[in-house]
Structures are given as structure tokens and as C-alpha cells.
Amino acid sequence: MQIVNQITQKPGTAEPEMMLIFRLSGNVFALPVGEVHEILDPMPTTSVPNAPAFAPALINVRGAIAPLIDIRQRLRMPTVPADDHARIIVLELPVNGVATRLAILADAVEEVIETDRAALKPVPELGARWPEQYVIGVARYGDTLVILLDTDTLFRPDAGPSIQA
């Protein structure tokens, strides 16, 4: 399968970029490969009491403790029971300026493809289905649309309770 670079709307660099394609709750998403640290089989998680639904648990990534992030919470998606294809994608990226290792769940990891951001179609084409701030754009992947996630905003922690001035 290949990305068909057919629509060029969002200005961007023409540099091809490697993207990891994965499935979650019936949709197909892409993340920059440069931020992917490793892909693991499902493992036991430790839920964190009183944690936000967006970051419900911790996992042990070979001796380091990483928060498990449920991106479905931000993308307003239902939870679908996982099967044998489920994976954990470990990412390493700056969160609020601090290099952070975190993990997300995927129903299945597909493959790595090459694309360039210039080929992305802006989100409004799809209507209001996806919260705009978490998505950079969409591209065609075979017969399906791939949603390219904005890792800058997607993993931003919830703003804490604001302090009364």
C-alpha cells in the first residue's frame, strides 16, 4: 500500500518523512517514526489512582517507568476490546520541554511509510469528527484515510487547576 500524494494544501517542507501507521478503535493513525522509541507486546499495567483518564496507568519499559497514555480520550473515540494484534508504542519526545518517555496503546501496528507533510490535506475536509488541535492533517493510505497526529499537542498534559490571582 502507498500514500497517494494527491492533494497539496498545507504549506510545509517537501522533505519526505517516515511515519508509523497504526490502528486504534477502527481508525488508522500516523506518528513520526523519529519519535517512536520501540514497539512492545501488551504487558501488565499498573493503574494510577485519581489519575486523569487520559493517563490512566504506568508500565515498566525495561526498568524505566513510563506513563501509559490513552489517546482515545482526546480523540473522542470509543474503546474497542483488544485482540492478539494489540501493541504498545513507546515514544520519546519533549513534553513541556522535558524529554519524556511515554507509551500509547494501539489495536495493531501496520508499517512504516514515507510521506511528506506537504501532501497532507487539512482536517476541516473531514468535518468536525477530529479535534482539530490534535491532528496535523490526513492522507490517503490505500483505501483508507490516515490521520497524522500532532504529537506536540496530543501529549500536552491537562492544564492544572488555575491559581486564583
Binding site: P49, N50, N60, P67, A165
Partner: protein, 664 residues
């Protein structure tokens, strides 16, 4: 060349230490002076100047030269030590530190050299050096140096200097050393090239040469040795030549015909030990962190091994595992102790802070330090420095009254700030205490209401109101002075302390003073943990906080002033069900247990499903997503690889108190 850069690094490191020591020495001059202190200061300046030019810190060397001049004047009795000299010296020291930080003759160093501060310092130094020569009574608080006639007499020295074979490769500059020797007095040099091999065997990077020097000077042996301080691999021999007529003045004839050097004392340098003692080793802090990380991994791997061995039922294996466990525990304690530093290292900095601030505020302040030998993990100490400076500023700016008010209140005009440290169990208590006016409860309440931190009619107790000074955006000073306007408030102090898993407490007595106490864990890295179970999850309670464990008997429940209490022998102890605290479904297990912990000065029961045992807990901090969840102090990895959360008993104790208050 890497050898050279290593030598430069060593110079920077040593010079930085010397400059830190210099600050102490200069401050010591305020309490009195003697020959030894002045000599020590001169030696530091002289060493930094000499080695600075040797290692490419020309700007630093040039500046230090003028600074050194002033202390040379003091040594020779031409100058007096007065407040003005100490002032300019402290600032000159700061300037030297800044130049050292430039890492050599960089554009930044050139900028500093041309700066107003440098010009001002040099002018002041020059006026002190020049001014005193004409009018030796210029100082306003003179401490006169008396030099005996004998000390000013000229002495003759024979110096043999034989650099190590690798010295040139390491960046040593014999020409500069010789120039420094020449600057001390009248010197005569002879080159000993007897070790020079035939040209065919000559290694151009090796040093084969030695020097014989006869020096006539009024300087001491220390001053001569100081020149060679950074050439510590060299063979150095310094002997005083005593002529039958006693000390002489003026040039002296060479001791023997040139070339006939074999009669001179053989080179050996027993008395010129380098600055560091052979019993201690300097290690970069990063390496200690690496060791600690590895040790953390080892502890976790060891826990896994223990579980496997326990399941195997193999007595031989179990015996070995027990032995390994014993060794790991020993290694842990040894490693933690290596990271321990006396808190003195940070207290020392505050003398200067207090001195500068008391000038700035026009308040006379005495700093008393107690318990400086108390040890804390290096990482804790490093992160304490800023909060402590801020607290001292606060005490001096807001806590202490001005001299007139103090006298009116029947107190000595001079205020006192006491900095103390002591260990108590697994915690170190650091207190900053002033003998000022105490906190003004009503002013704090008014300010808090104004800032929206407190409802106008809130029935808060005085001690609760005092806690508000730690709230973000709070300041009682009616106008921001330059002292408090430095961007950190007491809220920053509290969050820094909490970041170290510590707590802040405040106590105040009107008219008598205020004391802020920081309670800090001795170490941040590994603790003894007490494992408990809730449902299928394991949690860790710091063992240091655990007092005892009892069966949870519903029948022993009491309600007292709206709070759930447990009858533990003759006492009633408040308790929390961790299922409630952590929003878990209520446990259905029949036999549950209560862990009695002591935190924040009170006993508190924590109800759990079961007790799993003890372990060594390698503390990992929580990510930004979970850091602010109340009741969690971190996470750790258990022997079976599972992640367990560490319970923050202090927060829970506070929470229990608040719950009590709200239901009362």
C-alpha cells in the same frame, strides 16, 4: 591535545576551589587578622595568577596581578586591612570567578576585562595600594599588620626544579615559571641539560631539562612552593642557604661553576605535596549518579532473583541469593554514604549572602550556624542552596526589624539569623530562625483576603494563616525591595522542598522571631519500603514512617468529633481506608489490616487488604501526568517486574486532618 585540555580542566577545577576558599578567607579577615591568613590569601592569588597565565587565562592573570599587589603590600606591612580593602577584595574575587568561568581568553573574557566593573575594581585597588603608601591611616576600620623585622629580611634559597618527562606535553611552561621566580626577588638560573640524550634518541615531546636556581627574596618558602603548585609531578627541591653572616641582601654569587651540577642535592620533593591528599579521590558527580542508577537496577534485578529462588525450592540457590542480597544492601549503604556531604558546604556560602545583604538593607546582622556537620545526599544539598538563600533573604528583609525598632523593643540592635541542621531518623531538619518581630498574623490575613487566597470571613487559626506565606503570589512586603524582588517567593521554597520529598513548617512568636523548618529525607534514591496490597495492586509505604501493623477490627471503630478512629491499645488513632483515598471500589476481603504510620507529627492508620513484606525501593519520580496526584510520592519496580506506587504518607496525614476539620 587531550592531555592539555585535561590539565586545563584540572586547573579550572582547582582554581575554582581556591576562589571559593578565598571568599571564606576574606570574610575571616573581618573577624581579625594574622600573618597566616594574609599569607594564605596571597598564596591563592599568586597561584591563580601564575597558573592562569600558564593555562591560557591571560586576562585572569593580568587582573589577579593587581589584586595580588594589594596583598603583597599587606604582607610587607605597607598596607592595612580595612573594610574598604575587604569590600573590594570580595568583589575582585567575584570578578576572578567570572573570568575563570569564561574558560580562557575568550571574547567574553575580553569583554569583562574592558567592563566598567573591572575598571572600577582596578582603580579602587590602585588607590588603595597607592593611597596607603602616602597615607597609611586612610582606612576607616584599620586592623594593623605588624611584621617583625626578621620576616622582612632577605633569605637565600637554592631551588632545583626537574619537570616530569610529560610536563611539556601537558602544557607546562617553564619560561613562565622562571619569570615568576624572577619576580620574587633576585634570581640566578642555571640550566641542567645533563639528561639530554643523543640527538638520534631525542623525543621532541619529552622534557629532559632541569633548572638550578639561586633566589634571594623576602618571600617565604610557601610563596616559592606556590609557584610550582601546578607542576606537582615535577621533582622539586627547595633549600635555604644559610650564609655565615646570616641573611643577606643583594645578589649572591653562583654556588658552583656552571655545568658542575652533580654536587648539588639530588632532586626529590618530599615537602611539596600537591594540594589533594592521597587519601581522597576527586570524582565527577555524574559518575556517582551513574553508580546510583546501576545500583538501582541491581536492586531490582536482585529482587527478581529472590522471587525466582523462592519459587525454585532449591536451598543452594536460596543461600546464594541471600548472600547476594546481603552484599547488595552493603553496597547500597556504601554508595549512599559516598554521596553524603556535610551541609557545611552550602552553609558556607551564606556568610557572604548575609554580609552583602546587611549592607544593602542597612541592618546589622549576625549569622550563627549550627550542625554544619550534618550529612545529606549531594543532590539534595545542590537543590537546597537556592531555597535557603531565599529564606535567609526573607528573614533579614521581612523578619528582622531595623536597629531603632529593635532597641525600642528592648533587643540588641544587631539582629541574629540562625541556620541549623540536625538529623532525626531518616530525615534531616534544617531550620532558619530569626530573632525579629515574628509574623504579623493580621497583615497576612489581610493580604491573603486581598489576593483572593482566603475568604474575608474565613475562621482560620493563626497557624493556618501563617501557612499562607507559602501560597503562590503572596508577599507581605508593602513595597518590593530589591531583596525580595528576585523572582522567587516562599511558594518556590515550598515547591523546591516538596520536590525533594520534604516538608516546610513555620513557627512564630510575636516580638520574638520566626523559625522555618525544612524536613528533608536523607536520600532521594533508594529507601526501605513496606509493601502492602490493595485488591491485586501492590503499594509501597516508606518503612521509616511505619510504626506498627494491626488487624483491622470493624468493632474497634469509633467516631470521635466526626472522624473515624481506631482503638489501638489505650489510644485512639484516626485512620483512612486507602480504597477511599484512591477511589477504588470498597474491599470485600474479610480480614484486613491497618498500617500505623507516623507522619507530620501525628499517628495515622492506613487500612489495606494485606501486608506483603519489606523491600528495597528504588524511587522513580512520576511523569508530569501524575506528579500532582495527592498521596503519591513516586513509583518503583518490584521483583516480578510490576510497577508499584509509593504512598506519600505526609500528604495523607494532612488530608486526614483537613477531612476532620471539614466534618467537624
Amino acid at each position: 591535545m587531550t592531555d592539555l585540555s585535561a590539565a586545563v580542566d584540572a586547573f579550572v577545577l582547582e582554581a575554582r576551589e581556591q576562589l571559593e576558599g578565598l571568599e571564606e578567607m576574606l570574610l575571616d579577615l573581618e573577624t581579625g587578622t594574622d600573618r597566616e591568613r594574609v599569607d594564605a590569601i596571597f598564596r591563592v592569588l599568586h597561584t591563580v595568577k601564575g597558573s592562569g597565565s600558564m593555562f591560557g587565562f591571560g586576562v585572569l592573570a593580568r587582573f589577579t596581578h593587581h589584586f595580588e599587589d594589594a596583598f603583597d603590600g599587606v604582607r610587607e606591612g605597607r598596607l592595612e586591612i580595612d573594610a574598604r580593602l575587604i569590600d573590594v577584595s570580595l568583589r575582585a574575587r567575584d570578578h576572578m570567578t567570572a573570568l575563570l568561568d569564561c574558560g580562557g581568553d575568550s571574547p567574553e573574557a575580553a569583554r569583562l576585562e574592558a567592563s566598567e566593573e573591572a575598571a572600577h575594581l582596578l582603580a579602587t585597588l590602585a588607590s588603595i595600594v597607592g593611597g596607603h603608601a602616602q597615607s597609611p591611616t586612610l582606612g576607616n576600620a584599620p586592623v594593623v599588620m605588624q611584621l617583625s623585622a626578621r620576616e622582612q629580611m632577605m633569605r637565600r634559597w637554592s631551588i632545583r626544579f626537574h619537570p616530569d618527562a610529560t610536563a611539556l606535553r601537558n602544557g607546562m611552561r617553564p619560561d613562565l615559571l622562571m619569570a615568576e621566580i624572577a619576580a620574587l626577588g633576585q634570581a640566578e638560573f642555571r640550566l641542567d641539560a645533563s639528561d639530554l640524550p643523543p640527538l638520534t634518541e631525542l623525543d621532541p615531546e619529552r622534557s629532559y631539562l632541569a633548572w638550578e636556581i639561586t633566589l634571594t627574596t623576602s618571600q617565604t618558602r610557601d610563596a616559592i612552593e606556590a609557584i610550582f603548585l601546578f607542576a606537582d609531578d615535577a621533582a622539586l627541591d627547595i633549600t635555604e642557604l644559610v650564609s655565615p653572616n646570616g641573611p643577606t641582601i643583594g645578589p649572591v654569587a653562583a654556588a658552583g661553576p656552571p655545568g658542575n651540577v652533580s654536587q648539588l642535592p639530588q632532586p626529590r620533593a618530599p615537602q611539596t605535596a600537591p594540594t589533594g591528599s592521597s587519601e581522597s579521590v576527586r570524582v565527577p558527580a555524574g559518575k556517582l549518579d551513574d553508580i546510583m542508577d546501576q545500583l538501582g537496577e541491581l536492586v531490582i534485578a536482585q529482587a527478581r532473583l529472590y522471587q525466582i529462588a523462592a519459587a525454585s525450592q532449591n536451598p543452594d540457590l536460596e543461600a546464594v541469593v541471600e548472600e547476594v542480597e546481603r552484599l547488595v544492601t552493603g553496597l547500597r549503604d556504601a554508595t549512599l554514604s559516598v554521596r553524603m556531604l556535610p551541609i557545611e558546604s552550602v552553609f558556607g556560602k551564606f556568610r557572604r549572602v548575609v554580609r552583602d545583604l546587611s549592607q544593602e538593607l542597612g541592618k546589622e546582622v549576625m549569622l550563627a550556624v549550627e550542625g554544619g556537620e550534618t550529612e545529606l545526599d549531594k543532590n539534595v544539598i545542590d537543590r537546597l542552596s537556592e531555597p535557603l538563600v531565599h529564606m535567609i533573604r526573607n528573614s533579614m528583609d521581612h523578619g528582622l526589624e531595623d536597629a531603632a525598632s529593635r532597641l525600642a523593643a528592648g533587643k540588641p540592635a544587631r539582629g541574629k539569623v540562625t541556620l541549623s541542621a540536625r538529623q532525626e531518623g531518616g530525615e534531616v531538619l534544617i531550620a532558619i530562625e530569626d530573632d525579629g518581630a515574628g509574623l504579623n498574623t493580621e497583615a497576612i490575613r489581610a493580604r491573603a483576603v486581598e489576593r483572593g487566597l482566603l475568604p474575608a470571613d474565613a475562621p482560620q487559626s493563626a497557624s493556618e494563616i501563617h501557612q499562607l506565606i507559602f501560597a503562590p503570589g503572596f508577599s507581605t512586603a508593602s513595597a518590593l525591595s530589591s531583596v525580595s524582588g528576585r523572582g522567587v517567593g516562599m511558594d518556590a521554597v515550598r515547591s523546591a522542598v516538596e520536590g525533594l520529598r520534604g516538608q516546610t513548617e513555620i513557627a512564630t512568636l510575636p516580638g520574638r522571631g520566626t523559625r522555618v523548618t525544612l524536613r528533608l529525607p536523607v536520600t532521594l534514591a533508594i529507601i526501605d519500603g513496606f509493601l502492602v496490597r490493595l485488591g491485586t495492586s501492590a503499594f509501597v509505604i516508606p518503612l521509616a514512617a511505619v510504626e506498627e501493623c494491626v488487624e483491622f477490627e470493624e468493632a474497634e471503630r469509633h467516631r470521635e468529633s466526626g472522624r473515624s478512629m481506631l482503638q489501638i491499645r489505650e489510644h485512639l488513632v484516626p485512620f483512612l481506608d486507602l480504597d477511599d483515598v484512591f477511589g477504588r471500589p470498597a474491599s470485600t476481603e474479610a480480614r484486613r489490616r491497618v498500617v500505623i504510620v507516623k507522619a507530620d507529627g501525628q499517628r495515622l492508620g492506613l487500612v489495606v487488604d494485606d501486608i506483603l513484606g519489606q523491600n528495597q525501593t528504588v524511587i522513580k519520580t512520576l511523569s508530569i501526568y501524575h506528579r500532582n496526584i495527592a498521596g503519591l510520592a513516586g513509583a518503583t519496580i518490584l521483583g516480578d517486574g510490576a510497577v508499584a506506587l509509593i504512598i506519600d504518607v505526609v500528604t495523607l496525614a494532612r488530608r486526614a486532618r483537613i477531612a476532620h476539620r471539614q466534618s467537624a
